[in-house]
């Protein structure tokens, strides 16, 4: 018995919607098994974990607060990944945005003006963009691998933040705690409800909608999609490779920076050594769960926010480690990727292929007519 993949002639449209839902369902099932193994009533645990956060107004607000940075970053990363550009340093870009935007309330705490918030947001986006511009530049100019450079810059950003809050930007009245001053009210984002949901949530909605239109309806969006699907064809279409790289890193960096400044000018309210519980990395999962579609990032952001909140609730109610949440996140991404295979391929089990004992060379079939000529064209491209 072995697993055989058959490429579908065209992507299965129904599965494109179903696969993320299937992945979430399977993750919940995995959770059941995990809880059962540890001797916890799985149904109760699942309720606490995945349903509980949706039952009170307080937790729904908290959900929105957590989803806000995830959606902002995830929508930007979706665009990058669509172009086959692997910006995995969003966490660093988030910190850079928080530092750049946070410089105003720290260096000019008394600047009380209606321009202050827009200036902070703008600086935040520029900061994230600048941090993302480094891997883009190194890739365009030297051909350096953007995965590694963008990731290395996360560590650098974390140390930079650490140095600032322990050094020059430390609150002089802070009893030597590694924290900046608390931002003044006029440097905090407007909030809704009982004061936790902030303006960033509106940005997240707007960004997801605008980017969805941008990707589907504009020539620039077309350029990005073409680049990811077939880089040579996109060059043939007249789109410059470095140009697309700048664009994607610029957008995703700016959005990560925006998420960063919204965090520090929102729920956090100051700079401290840790300003994000890994939103920049979790947003990678958000992007994939949203099938690399900016609107899908809304769904993905909410699911992963539930995961964060459920983790906290489970810690309190069931004394399960909040680390479980991270495990779920990893499992979820595996399952998304596995389910995505169903979009591209039919999967079936095949019983012992004729005479093939070693399996060597027994080629699984491929259900499309042009396969031969495609393989041939790849050969000819040499």
């Amino acid at each position: 018995m072995r697993l055989v993949l058959e490429k579908r002639p065209e992507r299965n449209r129904w599965m494109q919607v179903a696969s993320p839902l299937l992945a979430v369902t399977l993750t919940v099932l995995f959770g059941c098994i995990l809880f059962a193994v540890r001797g916890i009533d799985p149904l109760h645990a699942i309720y606490v974990y995945f349903i509980g956060p949706l039952t009170t107004l307080w937790s729904i607000e908290e959900l929105i607060v957590k989803a806000t940075p995830l959606v902002l970053i995830g929508a930007g990363l979706a665009i990058c990944f669509r172009a086959d550009l692997w910006n995995i340093g969003a966490e660093g870009q988030l910190i850079a945005g928080a530092l750049a935007g946070g410089s105003i309330p720290i260096l000019a705490p008394h600047w009380d003006s209606s321009l202050a918030i827009p200036a902070m947001l703008l600086l935040g986006m520029l900061g994230g963009m600048a941090w993302a511009a480094v891997p883009a530049l190194l890739r365009n100019r030297f051909g350096a691998n953007e995965i590694l450079t963008s990731l290395m810059l996360v560590y650098v950003a974390q140390y930079l933040l650490d140095w600032l809050v322990r050094g020059p930007w430390r609150d002089p009245q802070g009893f030597n705690f590694p924290k900046s001053i608390s931002f003044n009210d006029w440097h905090l984002l407007a909030t809704f409800g009982d004061g936790r949901v902030h303006l960033g949530a509106v940005f997240a909605l707007v960004v997801a909608a605008v980017l969805a239109v941008f990707m589907a309806r504009t020539l620039k969006g077309f350029e990005i999609r073409a680049r990811g699907e077939a880089p040579r064809a996109s060059t043939f279409g007249g789109f410059s490779v470095p140009g697309t790289t700048w664009l994607c890193f610029g957008i995703s960096g700016a959005l990560a920076g925006l998420a960063g400044i919204c965090e520090v000018a929102g729920p956090v309210g100051q700079l401290q050594p840790t300003i994000s519980p890994g939103y920049g990395f979790t947003a990678i999962i958000v992007a994939f769960l949203g099938r690399l579609n900016p609107l899908g990032a809304l769904f993905g952001g909410l699911v992963l926010a539930v995961c964060y909140l459920g983790g906290e609730a489970a810690q309190v109610e069931l004394s399960i480690s909040e680390k479980t949440a991270q495990v779920f996140q990893g499992v979820l991404l595996f399952l998304i990727l596995a389910c995505d295979t169903l979009v591209r391929c039919r999967v079936r089990l095949e019983r012992g292929t004729q005479g093939s004992s070693s399996g060597q060379g027994a080629a699984p079939p491929l259900g499309i007519e042009d396969a031969g000529s495609r393989a041939a064209s790849e050969g000819a491209a040499r």
């Binding site: 190194l138 290395m152 990678i284 680390k323 949440a325 990727l337 070693s358 060597q360 080629a363």
Partner: protein, 306 residues
Amino acid sequence: MNGLEAVLLTIITASTPLLLAAVGELVTERSGVLNLGVEGMMIMGAVTGFAAAHTTGSAAVGVAAAIATGVAMALLFAFLTQTLAANQMATGLALTLFGIGLSGLIGQSFTGLPGVKLGAVYLPWLSDLPLVGPVLFAQDVLVYASVAITAAVAWMFKRTRSGLVIRAVGSNHHSAHALGYDVAGVRYRCIAFGGACAGLAGAYLSLVYTPQWIENMAAGRGWIALALVVFATWSPNRVAVGAYLFGTVWIMGLYAQAIGVAIAPQFLASLPYLVTIAALLAISGNRTLTKVNTPACIGQTFVPDR
């Protein structure tokens, strides 16, 4: 023990996990697969290695557990990328995120507990030599293993049919398939080897480097190992040189702090990451070195045609 000896010893301890992880990833990449999950496999190796050693009191059991965990993680990656043809980049990231999460969960009950340190093996006669003796021939078994594995891998690629087949599969999976080679099978094995090495590297961290469990103790070493492979242009010998260069940089930062250099410690701590970027830049410009060695199929999904 004099000062120089101490410095050299710490350099070796800092370099060994990098070398182990990088040489494993090198074999994986030579077969045409990019596994970004090195960090995840390494940290899982570290936690299971520590847990097994602490529970049984035997460092050897810890090492075995770390290898097994690394292989298991790698097989998960292989199943997704080779059997289900999932995107290698995304799957590797998933492996790292999953490994960091799960290691945190497993390690929670082991935080702060005393570890079991893998003992040194004194090579007779050689370890009595001045300076080189204690530095080179009084090491723990994993240091010897890292050198032996690297040499074996270099020999395999130069001399053996297995090495040739791995290079062929990484160079052109269509041709290899046409000749009847089981592309996925070869890759499964190379990925598993990479996982075993990453697991060993993790064991080194939690059984030798700092014999205890600290959350996130891989601290990006898996990623640096990935960069090392690129920096070494897929040559095992250059991986060894690169690993020791990076280990030196890592230790330099610590020593600079210790002797009170007037630079912020955060800057020194970020030095390895900045040096990694610089190394990537230096090698990216050099086309002649990359010509023959770069596996042409790296990162590409292969589903055999009819």
